[in-house]
Symmetry: C2
Subunit: 393 residues, 2 copies
């Protein structure tokens, strides 16, 4: 059975505009954009249709509209729009990972109660169909780990540094000039974007919803020439990696941090704005999915896939969340890290379990050793203020 979709769209940037053109020409999806809610009515638009409004309620209260597509940046506004739409019995497609990671529990409940569908494959990994694959395909008992490069901006910056030389600041500026990084890049380069995506992925992989504040994430702004030199001398690259892993005791752990990556790892060759995800399982060893993770067109394409799925009345069933007792999340596990620092005061914040290598010079020092993730988690908010660089080894 197929449903004719009347879409109320929030946001009309490049993604929204692309979506408009695709839907107009599509033979395969019976969907029309009826109204578009925009912020700036005076902005000149390429599409001159009589569907613009600045009043969200014109969409939310329109009984003809049966699908809301939310493509705005602001997570708080997105939350109110999505919640109000679901409560009014409208299905929703959203790509806002921060909003989803923070509010999924409530939104899933509302979705169930009102018998509507909230779809968000577009929120994680751009064009790579990770969420629906985890939901439909991979049995959680067989899943061992998921490792991904989930953020296009930071991967673009790291690629420039490692392939073309230069330091973090100049690579960041290039990324901003080319439109691959925001003017305020914190969300991307400090690992928050990756972390929100990892939360969503983990819910569909293992059935457990973990709170953002319970996860250790750190990023790449402190990457210094000495760290780059260290990696290059060892024949390694540094990538910003998000990882969730089942532990031997049945619980699981997760983090987002830079990682020293060797050429025999699949993610070594994921470059520029691309994303790559490795799904490791009991029987199939490793599978690797790879595709454009950022940009208007890849995003529009995955939003379109969500819309198509909705046209066929698709819903996430959250099987792993509802049918079984999901595994417990823990940070009580050790990770092996490279820690570069410049003074012993900074170093004193880290409680290593075991140190296997030490180096010091007048400019900088580093250690390699194991540390509890729970102990790293304690200094998470301090890290951006310290002149230290951390990478998983």
């Amino acid at each position: 059975m197929k449903t004719k979709l009347n879409i109320g769209l929030f946001g009309f940037g490049v993604v929204g505009e692309g979506l408009y053109h695709v839907l107009k020409n599509s033979r395969t999806v019976d969907a029309t954009i009826k109204k578009v809610c925009i912020k700036h009515p005076d902005k000149k638009r390429n599409v001159s249709e009589n569907f613009y409004t600045t009043d969200a309620n014109e969409i939310i209260n329109d009984e003809d509209i049966n699908l809301v597509v939310e493509l705005i940046d602001n997570a708080d506004e997105a939350y109110h729009i999505v919640k109000a739409s679901l409560l009014k019995g409208k299905s929703v497609v959203s790509g806002n990972k921060k909003m989803l990671a923070e509010h999924l529990e409530e939104l899933i409940e509302i979705q169930k109660k009102h018998n509507v569908s909230l779809l968000y494959d577009a929120s994680a990994c751009g064009s790579i169909p990770v969420i629906r694959n985890l939901e439909e395909y991979y049995d959680n008992d067989l899943l061992k780990s998921i490792t991904g490069i989930l953020n296009g901006s930071s991967n673009f910056i790291l690629t420039k540094i490692f392939n073309e030389g230069g330091d973090y600041d100049s690579a960041l500026k290039l990324a901003q000039d080319l439109g691959f990084a925001e003017s305020n890049p914190t969300f991307d380069v400090e690992g928050y974007d990756s972390m929100f995506k990892l939360i969503i992925i983990t819910l569909h992989a293992f059935g457990t919803l973990v709170k953002p504040e319970d996860i250790f994430n750190c990023g790449i702004p402190n990457l210094a020439p000495c760290d780059i030199q260290y990696a290059k001398e060892k024949g390694l690259k540094i990538k910003l990696v998000a990882q969730v892993t089942k532990l031997d005791n049945g619980s699981f752990t997760m983090f987002v941090m830079p990682k020293l990556v060797s050429p025999d790892e699949y993610i070594y060759s994921v470059e520029n704005e691309y994303n790559g995800v490795i799904i490791e399982g009991e029987y199939y060893e490793k599978q690797f999915m790879f595709g454009k993770g950022a940009g208007a067109f890849p995003t529009a394409s995955s939003v379109l896939s969500d819309i198509t799925a909705r046209a066929h009345n698709y819903k996430y069933e959250y099987k792993k969340h509802t049918l079984f007792t999901p595994p417990t999340y823990t940070t009580d596990t050790e990770v092996k890290i490279y820690l570069r620092y410049r003074d012993s005061l900074a170093f004193s914040h880290f409680e290593f379990e075991n140190i296997t290598e030490k180096y010091s010079s007048k400019d900088y020092s580093y250690v390699i050793g194991t540390i509890k993730l729970s102990s790293l988690q304690k200094v998470k908010y301090l890290l951006p203020k310290l002149d230290v660089f951390i990478a998983a080894v």
Copy 2:
């Protein structure tokens, strides 16, 4: 809604045995193997359960059994088992690509009429979830091409030749010794296995079912040292590639043949028994999926995914096949090939449209040029008998 599955299993080799153990320990799938139909009752089995039979009807006529899992090699026997089971109202999981490629039209009809489900993600690409992704995720209007290394045996042989030296015969023998190739390797090395998989993939990508005899396939047994040398001098590898491509006129074409592959192509790095699939679309450019394509465990894992899907009452909907007019298949299109030959009689079988390079020596000659796929198709059955080697350029 979940269905408790009572499985009747055909075939109890390594895959079947692996499946038995996994199901026994699974918390996530409520499925039990009730009966196993085997060919050789006197063979010593590792599993001593009282469920063996040599009579297929004991499974087909057992009203308690609601899912038949077919894991036998023989395509004709598989066809009869699958058809009889569907007609008796049982759902079926099958991995037999040859049988499926040849009989899908009829089996889909029976499946619909009897309101049962025939699932076969296990049939193409081992552990890579290609079929269900195409079915659920990629809108056919946006799909431009699918290119894959779909056969693990021939890829293992080509990897050995290009990475470790040696000729075709010694690499084939090694593959056979290690269990990566059958004692009769024709099915794999002449491109039939890839072609049957490509037929199944194409049905789920574009909605059109193409007959095996209408598709050009050729393989690698004629690969000679001069061909290997040619590729190596140009910095290329030779891979056995299956490809389906939309043409500008809206129709599509497909083939299986060796291809000269450069290092900047994703499939260049797909080695040994791995499979890799590139899905190219209008908006997301290229996506790449990569995983183990052969072996007992990857196959068991994708059979298990089909079983899990069935436990959740999943069916392929064949949306692209039923909701729209699928595109037409054509071989009236040109491909650029490298053709190596040794005598002008062999060469005379090929009607080139245009030749751009020629080389000849006393030992061998080659040309590079464009030729109609329909013209290659005419000499398909003659090729294994000629001392020529063809590769797409």
